[in-house]
Each structure stands twice: as C-alpha cells, then as structure tokens.
Symmetry: C2
Subunit: 420 residues, 2 copies
C-alpha cells in the first residue's frame, strides 16, 4: 500500500481525562511512526464510556486511514475497547484459544483462581490478526475496515511497547511500506548556552530544509535533532553526516555524543581507555553524581565509589576534614571542597576525585545564599581545582544542575588533559 | 450557570504529533478541572494545520460546552489558533493596546527590534475577555459562542499554568460555579502485594459508589485513591475519612502515608522524633538509597551520609571489609552485607545503618545470578539482620526494587522497634 498514510492515535481511559496519568503512549507511538515515515494528524483521548468511545472510533474511521487504539483491553467492566471496536468495525468477537490457554496457565502457576473477567481478555476480533503479548495478557490486534487499518494495543506502556516493537513494526514495514525513509540523529552539546549555540549556526538552521535542524530543550545542555528524508536509509544518513560535519566545524568543541549516548557513558569510555579510576565526595548532591555512573553497566571497571558526607560530623568522621577548617571557613567553601576532593582520593585511592559542597536550600546557611556551590576536581598529583557556582531554582533544580556541572567539568578537564 | 459541564481540552502543536514532547498541559488542566468539579470528556491534539484545527474546533463546539485550547498563540507563521478561533467562533480579532505595549516594552528593554510577527501576539478576540500573561507575551482569552465557553491559553507550560492559576480559576469559580465539590485522597501502602490487598478490601471496592476506591499502579508499593463528591468540601472530607477508617481496620498495618507524602519523608519523621541518625553502605544501589532521603529538605538533622563502596577495592580501603572475607564469601553475600552495615555504622557513628550488596546485572557474577541482593540493617547495638532477595528485570529495575525494599525494611523495623 503506497498511498499517503495519515494516522491517528486514540487513547482510551478515564484516568487520562482525570489527569491522573500522562498520555505517554500517544507520544511514544508518535515517535515510532515518525521513524517509520508515517504522518500522525490527531491524538484523541476518550474515557471508559461506550457511547463516546464509539463516536471517537467512528470519527477516526472517517478521517484517518490508520488508527492506533491503546487501552481498554483489560479484564474489568470498564474495559470496552473490544466491544466498541467490534461494533464500529462490524466485526465479531471470538475466543482465541492460544491466548486463553496462556491466561489460564498464568493463574495456575500462581495458584489463583481465574475469574470470568479474565476470560474476556482472550476475545479477539474474528477477522483480524492477533499479536502476542509477552509482557501481559491482552493480545494486540489488527483489522482492516473500509480501507482504514486499525491496530489495538494494551494501555499498560510496558506491554504496549513490547507488542509494538516485536510485532507491529515488522507488520507495518510489510503492510504499509513507505516511499521514503525518515532518519533522525540527535547531537548533544555541553558547556555552551542555547542562545549562543543557535547564534553560531543560525544560518544553517534557516537554510536547511532537508535535513532540518531542530533544537530540543535540555537541562544544562543543548541538543539538536537532524532529520533527513530520502529514498533510502543510506542517502538519508549521508545527508545527515554531511550536515553534522558543517555543524562540528562551528560548535564541535562542545559536542559530547549522539542519540542515546549519555555524558556519563562518554566519560566512562574515556576513563576506561586510560585506566583512570574515579571517586566522589558528595554533600549536597547526596550520591546522585556517582549514581549517574553506576547506572551504566560496566562502571565497576573505573568507578571506585563515593563518600556521601552529608552531615558535618560525617565530613569530620569519615573524610577527616579538620574541625578547625570547618569552623573557620564553613562546609560551603572552596577550602572544604578542596579538602573533600583530596581526602576521598586518598581513601578510595582513585586517580581522579571530584567533590561537591554547597547549599541546595530551601534556607540560606553559613551566610551563603541558596544555590552556592563549590566543585573540586583533582587529577592525579595535580593541584585540586575548585570552582564556585551560583545556581537558582528549587532544591531539586540546584542539585541536578550541580551534578550536570560536575560532569561537564570532568568531561572538559579530561579532554584537556588528554590533548596535552 | 449550573448545568452539567462537559469539558474538552484541545492541544495544538505539530511537535506533539511527532512525539517530540509529551502533552503535559492536557494532563495538568484535567487535574485542575477535576478539583473544580468539572468533567473532562475528551482530549484532542491537532497539528499546526489551519484546516484540521478548524475541524477540531467545530467538533468541540458541537459536543462540549466548555473548551480549553492550548498552543498556537506564538508569533510564528505556524501559530494559527487565534485565526482559527476567530473563524470558527465568528469573532473578529483586534489589537489589544495593553498587550501590545507590554510586548513593545519587552523588546525595548532588551534593545532588540520587534518584528511584525510579535505584533500578532497582541491580537485578541474582540468580544472576549483577556487574561494577562505574566510569564510571557500571548494573553489568555475567554469567549462564549453558541452556549459553549472557550478558553485559549499559551502552549508553554509555565505560561499556561500561570494564567490558569491567576486568572482562570477565579474566573471559573464565578462564571461556572459547581454544585458539588470533588475531593480525592491517595492512601499509600507498602509491604503487601496489590492482589492480596485488593482481596482484603474487595467488598468495599465493589460496594463503594461515593467515595469510590481506585487502585493505582505503583512500583513495589500499592496506592488507593479515594474520591468523594458532596455539596461542601467538609462533607466530602468527612466521607473520605470515614471510609479510610474502614480501610485502616483491614490493611492499616501496611499504611505509610497519604497524598504527596513519600516513604522517605515518613521515615525521616520517625528518625527525627527519636533522634536516630542513619547511614548507608551501598554497592549496587550506588548512592540512590541515601539520595532519596537527601532529596527531602531538613534531612541533615538525621542523615549522616553514605559510603558508596562500589569497587571491591573500595570495600577494603574505605569500609575495611577484610580481604579474607571477600575471598571466601564474595561481595554478594550475607557476610559482606553484615560487615558493610557494621563498618559504616562505626565510621559514620550513626544510630542506624543499612547496607546493600548484590548483582544488578546485566551479567551473573561470583556464581550468583543477576538480581541476587543482600540488605543488612543494624539498629544501635542489636545484631545486624541481613535479608536475601532475588529481584528480576533490568539493571534499573533491580536497583530501584532494592532501594524500595531497603526503605520498606527500614520503615517496618522502625515501627516494630518503637512499638516495644
């Protein structure tokens, strides 16, 4: 089928209309469809109400030629999608024996009696395709009616994504192949403000129609999405790489990674390549800095660990920061940051150490305003370098900005050190 | 106006349909409307396309008597909401002098020339009300057409929320007063599985029509939302409290807090009441456990800190775990968990200490499968209690379940200790 696909996504569930949860399914499916080169023209959310659900489906049938429906496939009385779908699309429902057997097994294994409610999850549209759900009970379904394709998926995000990636994507590539490939690449930058970065590449952003350059908002970093359309994947990638080269000539100094690469992954790569172990001494960041790295598999090759010396006592007891220093300069000070970095490097015997001390709020302390932060960085035998910052926002904002800034300093310092 | 309000929310913006951002505006407005006692029946998202935007607005005019529109009020060519609104609602647009002056001032202050584009943000629906935007340029608007009320708001969340809270809520209370108040309370439980909990209160859930009891999915915990409708706030709260009493009689043992109260907040309260300081020794959790507590303002009263001894060396160097123990039993062991808890208690001189060691994956290690976890808990002079767990899922899942389980053990142990 080669005609222009215009898709819409229907999200079923009263909890969405009560604002109890966000509609992440519609967003995620939209991203997937963008990658598959399919236009999405509408999102429509409706509650667990049979009459309104049917109206929404009828409208979709009239205006779209591909419709995704998530939600309403559960076992409760409020789950009406199957019935409404059968009604609007003039289909019969029948029990799928494979699905029924799977549901029965699930309950047997847990020695729980299966209720009649659960049996309805084995009902499928008779003339449709059934896609197995390996994360839950209700299967996905596809049916075509009056030249509109309908895909039904569970509302539970984990289940929906699983069926989508395992079955829907291959199905779409075969049933709805597209004439052109849409390829995106996200480029990530740190250490430069959004306005200044956009200033440097403004003419490229204005001129580019294919690929396009779209800035995406980030916290303490800047991201650009390059999107190219071409007949083949290779042509699209070539166009993107070519544009990336132009961008790198202007802002390459601030580049750290692309797509799903995280700054912590890039830093870990550099640390591993050079066998540099890392330890942190954290106060206001409370372990969040080292957690970023430990979240990455394989971190144990280079991440020694951290001393989270939150209370003043802990700074004295564990890091042996002299009481006199704390009395004289306070914990929110350049001297304390320096001492913390040096002590943790000794104790953890790491090549590199970084320290964080400051006031995340909500109250000022030691005469220092909320948001005062000192970050210390010690590389090997070199003198500890301490930098001072003033961040604003909530406690969460300040802690997160501090973690981000620590990663930025570490990344830039490593690049400098290795270029010498 | 006292008739039954049925509202819908239209979100305008192609970036929403590309999945580039999530529709947080519709969720947030829905929550606000739930508090105001107004039913939301649909969310509808449409792109920056004049024809489709008009169709979506016409549909809303026919089926809803209160419509919120967010987005499309910016200065670019893609911002079409004003024009489409004027078209569909048979209104004229006129320049609002106050808004224009504000926009001009903004540019003058920054010494930037104001473009013609920006002038269109001063256009408003002639017969409507205008609500000032104190966070940006485009004002909010209200107009009534064919018995349907229309409220237009900017798409930028910060601006939308600001106008909503400052102007829309008071406006709604006056223009659309509701006969009944809707009040919700969320009750939180830990240490009991969802199915078993629902089993214990099944009859109450079935019987209750006002208040209603709705279970909400949680990770490692169970949450119930009680929702009551009554003529006054007080009556609704009384009904909720009464139902809560009934629930507590059956599942009160597992209750830890309500609404926005977090488990870490409750634990901190208990620690503070008893002057119990807390320290953690963390391996696989990587600082994430102590971070939960440090995220809460005022934590420094009782949170000493943590030793994140990630590498084996760090366990030896900083926590002084004997090399022989590690060689014999490994780091993923009951003995190592015990030693970590005892050592960190000594070093941090905390009343309570908790330790986490295990294998978060993705590979098995020391002959222990992925998900093997040991949590040690030491209260004062009492013997350290170590518990073993087997978690499944991704690295992230396992680490999060471990943190959650640690909080559950700590909470339950504190309750037991304090009841003696």
């Amino acid at each position: 089928m080669n005609k222009e696909m215009n898709a819409e996504i229907i999200s079923v569930g009263s909890e969405l209309l009560l604002g109890q949860i966000a509609d992440t399914n519609a967003q995620w499916i939209s991203q997937q469809l963008a990658h598959l080169g399919i236009n999405v023209y509408f999102h429509h959310t409706v509650g667990d109400n049979y009459s309104r659900l049917k109206d929404v489906m009828k409208l979709a049938n009239n205006r779209s030629n591909l419709v995704f429906v998530t939600g309403g496939l559960g076992p409760t009385e409020d789950d009406l999608t199957r019935e409404a779908g059968a009604d609007v699309l003039n289909q019969q429902l029948e029990t799928n024996q494979q699905v029924l057997a799977k549901i029965q097994t699930f309950f047997e294994l847990r020695d729980i009696p299966m209720t009649e409610n659960n049996q309805k999850q084995a009902l499928v549209l008779k003339e449709g395709e059934v896609f197995p759900n390996n994360e839950g009970m209700a299967p996905g379904m596809f049916v075509e009616f009056n030249q509109t394709g309908w895909i039904f998926l569970p509302g539970v995000p984990r289940e929906m994504k699983s069926i989508f990636l395992e079955s829907i994507v291959p199905f779409m590539r075969e049933y709805y192949p597209v004439n052109e490939q849409i390829v995106s690449r996200v480029l990530k930058f740190i250490g430069i403000g959004e306005s200044i970065l956009e200033d440097r590449i403004f003419d490229l952003m204005e001129a580019q129609t294919n690929p396009t350059i779209a800035p995406l908002a980030g916290e303490g970093e800047v991201t650009l999405r390059l999107t190219a359309k071409a007949k083949t994947n290779e042509e699209a990638l070539t166009a993107i790489s070519s544009l990336q080269e132009q961008l790198m000539m202007r802002i390459g100094d601030y580049y750290y990674g692309k797509d799903d690469e995280s700054l912590q992954q890039k830093i870990l790569e550099i640390l591993k390549e050079n066998s540099y172990t890392l330890a942190s001494a954290e106060s206001l960041t409370g372990g969040r800095f080292i957690d970023q790295f430990i979240s990455v598999p394989g971190a144990s090759a280079v991440i020694a660990g951290s001393v989270v010396s939150y209370q003043t006592q802990a700074k004295e007891n564990v890091l042996h920061i002299p009481k006199s220093l704390i009395e004289e300069k306070g914990t929110v000070s350049e001297q304390c940051a320096r001492e913390m970095a040096e002590q943790v490097q000794k104790q953890m015997q790491s090549v590199i150490s970084i320290s964080f001390t400051g006031n995340a709020g909500p109250n000022a302390s030691e005469g220092k305003p909320v948001g005062s932060v000192y970050i210390g960085l010690k590389i090997g035998n070199q003198d500890t370098v301490v930098k001072a910052f003033q961040f604003s926002g909530s406690r969460e904002n300040i802690r997160n900005r501090t973690v981000k800034k620590g990663m930025e300093l570490l990344f830039n310092t490593l690049k400098d050190v290795l270029q010498k």
